[in-house]
């Protein structure tokens, strides 16, 4: 889903909150604006992006917010923990994959970002693979899938991930409080040399 721009009044209100809480020099009121995306798995919270367009490249910070409290998405799971503890998280079979994708897209692991693969053709490094490798990858890739562990009541997202130069099939256990536990199951492709520059 694309970002929705807030109107000028709403944008200024959000900016004031962040500027007051953070640092007066961080975003100028004239050259900055706020936008948002609704999140299907949160009842009260959305993700807000505040961008200063005065500099090149433009400077952005993303927050989870209910309009009153702001939690910086800084690459750690902290913002998720705080928001999830407020009871806003509502997970079901329909939105679980969205939650996992958003979560992984907003945390950074020690060896870089973790990509959840929805569509092999959209992988940033796909062009660097040979046609055979692309076909092989396509044949092994499965669409993300949600299953319910009836014993524990936890959801499990079965997804393909790209992490630290490796493509893996993984089961991601998502507890009702939103914590996630990645259980890699099988390597799809492991040669790091095939993905040089994929994290750039």
């Amino acid at each position: 889903m694309d970002w929705n721009r807030l109107d000028k009044t709403q944008s200024q209100a959000i900016l004031e909150q962040v500027i007051n809480a953070a640092d007066p020099g961080l975003f100028s009121r004239n050259s900055s604006e706020a936008s948002f995306k609704p999140l299907s798995f949160y009842q009260d919270f959305m993700v807000y992006r505040i961008t200063n367009y005065a500099t090149l490249p433009s400077f952005s910070l993303d927050f989870l917010s209910d309009g009153e409290s702001f939690h910086l998405l800084d690459g750690s799971p902290q913002a998720f923990e705080i928001v999830n503890a407020k009871g806003s998280l509502y997970l079901n079979e329909t939105n679980l994959i969205d939650y996992v994708e958003f979560y992984l897209a907003n945390i950074t692991a020690d060896d870089g970002d973790i990509y959840m693969i929805r569509d092999v053709r959209s992988l940033p490094f796909i062009e660097s693979l040979s046609f055979d490798q692309q076909a092989d990858l396509q044949s092994k890739h499965a669409e993300p899938q949600t299953v319910l562990d009836e014993e524990t009541g936890d959801f499990i997202a079965l997804v393909d991930l790209f992490y630290d130069g490796t493509l893996l099939k993984s089961g991601i256990i998502v507890k009702s409080n939103g914590t996630i536990d990645i259980q890699p199951r099988e390597m799809i492709m492991s040669s790091k040399s095939q993905f040089v520059g994929a994290n750039a």
């Binding site: 640092d23 991930l161 492991s190």
Partner: protein, 180 residues
């Protein structure tokens, strides 16, 4: 020797919340330590010391923000920001290089030829000015990395700059200096 990591173990560790709770919303928990390290390193370079002196004379403030990836940012003449991930060691050479960039960009606002302009004068003029600003920032980063790496024997600065893809700038600068 290249360390081969086990992606299975690394992935399991990747999303555990072992980091300490950060009280402030945006500022880095080790902000003071990072700024002190950057200033200490820059003071070992003549060019770096020049930037620090200018900042002190003009009351330019330094701020370290938490973020996903390291970068520099200077929204105006009074504030130089760097973004540092929690996971990055606070004495990393990368941080000092970004700090240099942010500081030089703030100082550009005091230089008539390099002061930021809006798009009112046309996109071409704006793009030209931004290119000039970038070139100036890179020049200062190159000089400081060279002075720290080659003259102060802190090779990690050369390594970091090379990893960012700018080793050719060090080579070029050295060639200019030596005439070879």
């Amino acid at each position: 020797m290249i360390e081969v990591k086990n992606p299975f173990i690394a992935l399991k560790k990747a999303v555990t919340a072992e980091k300490t709770v950060e009280k402030r919303i945006i500022r880095h928990a080790n902000e003071r330590e990072i700024i002190e390290h950057c200033l200490n390193m820059l003071s070992l370079s003549d060019a770096g010391q020049e930037l620090i002196d200018f900042a002190a004379e003009n009351d330019i403030k330094y701020t370290v923000l938490r973020g996903r990836t390291a970068r520099d940012y200077a929204p105006n003449s009074q504030n130089a920001y760097i973004v540092v991930p929690d996971s990055m060691p606070t004495d990393s050479a990368d941080i000092v290089i970004h700090f240099t960039g942010a500081l030089k960009e703030a100082i550009q606002e005091y230089e008539p030829d390099l002061r930021r302009i809006g798009v009112e004068k046309g996109e071409a003029v704006y793009a030209y000015k931004e290119a000039e600003k970038f070139e100036d920032k890179m020049l200062w980063q190159t000089i400081i990395v060279y002075e720290l790496g080659k003259l102060a024997n802190k090779s990690e600065f050369i390594d970091s700059f090379a990893a960012m893809g700018y080793y050719h700038l060090i080579e070029g600068y050295e060639k200019d200096l030596t005439g070879n």
